[in-house]
């Protein structure tokens, strides 16, 4: 037995910090799980590693890297890598590119695995064998795990494992990962030294073979690419003519430049050369299946048919879909609320404790108003994220998600997105943060980026308090038919966000994110009972990932905002008020002292850096009808939009914890311009401000999570600039247009 503690050690650059020290001595054996999507690979991964797994990213890309630890019968502990689901080593998505790069040894941070466990669905052996043959051709040690063997037996499919082993040249094991069947055998097999397959399944026509051999000789010795992968690298280069970075980086420009000419020559000699190997493998598979598999004809899955007849029905399908989405939305919106309130209350109580334990001063203020408030903001998002991912995992694992995408594809296709963009966008009405995290189900990179960039346009729940304040202050409660003007205004603000999203998606798809039309192919998997373990692991992973990655950025920005709103202290007005407070206290007048305290808080904010930024912003926001006080609010609301409300309360001397929104509405309506004495905000200013809030990106958490999900600062910064420019222009149009028409 090893006494080494169970710590996970990931290579550098994997995006996850190791929790302990790197293990010394011989490198731990690495085993990779690989298979088609829906092969039950993740279920096997969870079963092998238990809860000892870590989720990170492959360096430089958004593809998720899942690594776990598994102890084998010999006592040896191995590292298990759950590679993204793939259909082919000829990649068509970022996930598949990663798989190819790992297997070819092109990724410096993830060396090729020592053993590959190929997970296949025993009920769909012929299609799943395609990837198996491709991987065996690489000549690496592999084990084939015939997963879901129970379902295959139930369907009357009999697989001769020995015959299959003979034909494939590697060990074949029957397992049922969800039931834990056969896992002992698999673990024992993983303990052994595995020989790579010596069979050759690849049938290239002569001209292609010559081209591959020619290329191979021109490839230099590459540091990370094993000698035996050179042939595979040459094939990958020949077949790939896209924008494949890792591959292009791996070879010198001279070789790359020669490729188009080689391809052109092959096109002339044999127009079908690029597909020849595909047909060759399927011929081989037909041979293998004939020998090793006995299946009772084309039996139909009647349960599936019956469910699908309802769920994808012309009328019931969309109705059920909308009801389900309504339930998901309502849950994220409403169910999370008690948990969020509880977290809020706990954080509040904790702040009070810290306040009581520490003397008043900069340290107490930094802890309470900066750090605890910042960490608190981060934690309050967790209930929404957890609930949304509970539903998403359930919908994914049961197989419904694919049907939802099938139903919605036509509509989402109109703005150039795929059906899978619907759930992230819907969730964004509750909060853009879980929404952006949910875009992981979109496999096309451009579709995913577009969805991330338009998600914050959906009016989230944090905008509601601001809308409520401004509508209450400026929109008269007039009935228009069966509805009220405030109701119509609220609806219009939601519609405005959606319209902006459609417009931006349309524009992005034609400019920055234009590209060859992506292929939409989606497998509609059979319906399955979800495993609670997988669902809970997904919920846990998402929550932890958010806290770790977005949380650090949110905390940093919170501290900066705290500093800006608290310093410098002791401006002229604040000094005067502090003196007056002392006088009032000495005179024994607590009411006057309390009023002065609120005025002091207001004065401190007005005289702080944030106040100065508000003043400095005035020339920029004056054309929108906003003054410096709103400017301060726009700055502080970057911590969270609803902070706008408490900032306004402080600016207008109502105290930070004003529980009387009515009085704040009144105060804002009656606010005067300190220099002219005229009313500062007309209803038109209110409308302009609402439009600004509907469109602007003023949420550091959204920026932080977009940074984490796109793995670069480029897109979140683009989002920030694009949304705020759009908000400015729209508010400008509303305010100046309104003035031209004689309002305000």
């Amino acid at each position: 037995m090893s006494t080494r503690p169970d710590v996970l050690v990931l290579p550098e650059g994997s995006g996850t910090r190791p929790r302990g020290h790197a293990a010394e001595g011989p490198a731990r054996r690495r085993i990779a799980l690989l298979g088609n999507p829906n092969s039950g690979k993740t279920t096997l991964f969870n079963a092998l590693t238990g809860l000892r797994q870590k989720v990170g990213n492959y360096a430089g890309v958004t593809v998720e890297k899942k690594v776990g630890r598994c102890r084998l019968p010999s006592g040896q502990s191995v590292e298990v890598l759950d590679l993204p689901g793939s259909y082919s080593l000829q990649p068509a998505s970022p996930d598949e590119i990663i798989v190819r790069d790992v297997l070819l040894g092109l990724l410096p941070d993830t060396p090729p695995p020592d053993v590959i466990v190929l997970v296949v669905d025993a009920t769909n052996l012929d299609r799943h064998l395609y990837l198996v043959l491709q991987v065996l051709e690489l000549g690496r040690p592999a084990i084939v795990a015939l997963n879901m063997i129970d379902a295959a037996e139930e369907a009357g499919i009999r697989i001769d494992e020995t015959a299959l082993e003979r034909r494939l040249g590697v060990p074949v094991l029957a397992i049922a990962a969800a039931k834990g069947r056969g896992l002992g055998n698999l673990r024992r097999m993983m303990d052994r030294e595995i020989e790579p397959s010596t069979r050759h399944f690849r049938r290239w026509p002569d001209p292609v073979r010559h081209a591959i051999e020619g290329l191979e000789t021109r490839l230099p010795r590459l540091p990370h690419v094993p000698e035996r992968s050179r042939t595979d690298l040459a094939i990958a280069l020949l077949l790939e003519d896209g924008e494949d970075d890792a591959l292009a980086r791996a070879v010198p420009a001279g070789v790359l430049d020669g490729l188009p000419a080689i391809r052109e020559r092959l096109d002339q000699q044999d127009p079908g050369w690029r597909q020849g190997d595909v047909l060759g493998r399927y011929d081989e598979i037909a041979d293998i299946v004939k020998i090793a598999v006995v299946a009772p004809g084309e039996a139909r899955d009647e349960t599936r048919e019956r469910i699908d007849r309802v769920l994808t029905h012309r009328i019931f399908g969309p109705v059920i879909f909308l009801l389900l989405m309504g339930a998901v939305f309502q849950s994220v919106f409403a169910w999370a609320q008690p948990a969020m309130d509880l977290i809020d209350a706990l954080i509040h109580r904790f702040s009070r404790l810290v306040e009581a334990a520490l003397p008043a001063g900069p340290l107490q203020s930094l802890l309470v108003d900066g750090i605890i408030a910042g960490v608190g903001t981060t934690i309050t998002f967790v209930p929404q994220i957890a609930i949304l991912f509970l539903f998403i995992s359930l919908l994914e694992d049961t197989g419904y998600m694919a049907r939802a995408a099938f139903i919605m594809d036509r509509i989402m296709g109109k703005v150039g997105l795929s059906g899978r963009a619907f759930i992230p966008l819907l969730s964004s009405f509750a909060c853009a943060i879980p929404g952006i995290m949910a875009t992981r189900t979109i496999d096309n990179r451009r579709d995913r980026l577009t969805t991330i960039l338009i998600a914050p346009f959906m009016s989230c729940s944090a905008r509601l308090p601001v809308y409520a304040l401004l509508i209450g202050a400026f929109i008269p409660n007039i009935w228009i038919g069966p509805v009220t003007l405030p109701g119509i205004t609220l609806l219009a603000l939601y519609a405005l966000g959606i319209a902006a999203a459609v417009l931006v998606a349309w524009a992005l798809k034609r400019t920055a994110l234009k590209g060859g039309k992506p292929l939409y192919v989606m497998e509609l998997p059979p319906y399955r009972m979800p495993s609670w373990r997988s669902v809970l692991v997904a919920v846990r992973d998402r929550s932890i990932l958010f806290l770790q990655k977005a949380g650090t950025v949110i905390l940093a920005v919170s501290i900066i905002l705290w500093f800006l709103a608290s310093y410098p202290k002791g401006g002229p007005e604040a000094t005067r008020l502090a003196a007056e407070i002392t006088t009032a206290q000495q005179a024994g007048d607590p009411t006057a002292a309390a009023q002065l305290e609120r005025e002091l808080a207001g004065a401190t904010l007005r005289e702080s850096f944030a106040g100065r930024v508000g003043y400095a912003l005035e020339p920029v926001i004056r054309p929108l009808g906003f003054d410096w006080r709103i400017g301060i609010g726009l700055l502080t609301s970057f911590a969270a939009r609803e902070v706008m409300v408490s900032t306004m309360a402080t600016v207008f001397n109502l105290g930070t914890h004003s529980d009387e929104p009515v009085s704040l509405r009144q105060t804002i309506r009656d606010a005067t311009d300190p220099t002219t004495g005229a009313r500062a905000y007309s209803p038109l200013v209110g409308l302009s401000l609402m439009v600004f809030f509907a469109l602007a990106c003023q949420c550091m958490s959204t920026v932080a999570v977009a940074r984490r999900e796109t793995n670069s600062w480029r897109w979140p910064l683009f989002m920030l600039v694009m949304m705020n420019a759009l908000a400015w222009l729209a508010s400008f149009a509303v305010y100046q247009g309104g003035r031209l028409l004689g309002y305000g």
């Binding site: 012929d126 399927y282 292929l519």
Partner: protein, 77 residues
């Protein structure tokens, strides 16, 4: 005689793939997913709005758009 394309089948109708055309990368991927010439295929149903299509090929259900199905010729006899 020219063969009909996959999107011209009626829901529930079966056929055999004759050829897969269109952009090379897309044709290759469709073949890798099992839609290779000689493979039996069934058009199971259309999505509620008429697009995409649900296919059944090698016991697997695939969903592809009409725009891709137009490049796949099938023998429906």
């Amino acid at each position: 005689m020219t063969y009909p394309t996959l999107d011209q089948l009626a829901p529930g109708q079966c056929a055999v793939v004759v050829s897969v055309g269109g952009p090379v990368a897309i044709a290759r991927r469709l073949m890798e997913l099992g839609l290779a010439p000689g493979t039996p295929v069934e058009l199971v149903r259309l999505a509620p709005l008429g697009d995409p299509l649900e296919l059944r090929v090698r016991r697997i259900h695939l969903s592809i758009r009409r725009s891709e199905a137009r490049h796949i010729r099938v023998d429906a006899t």
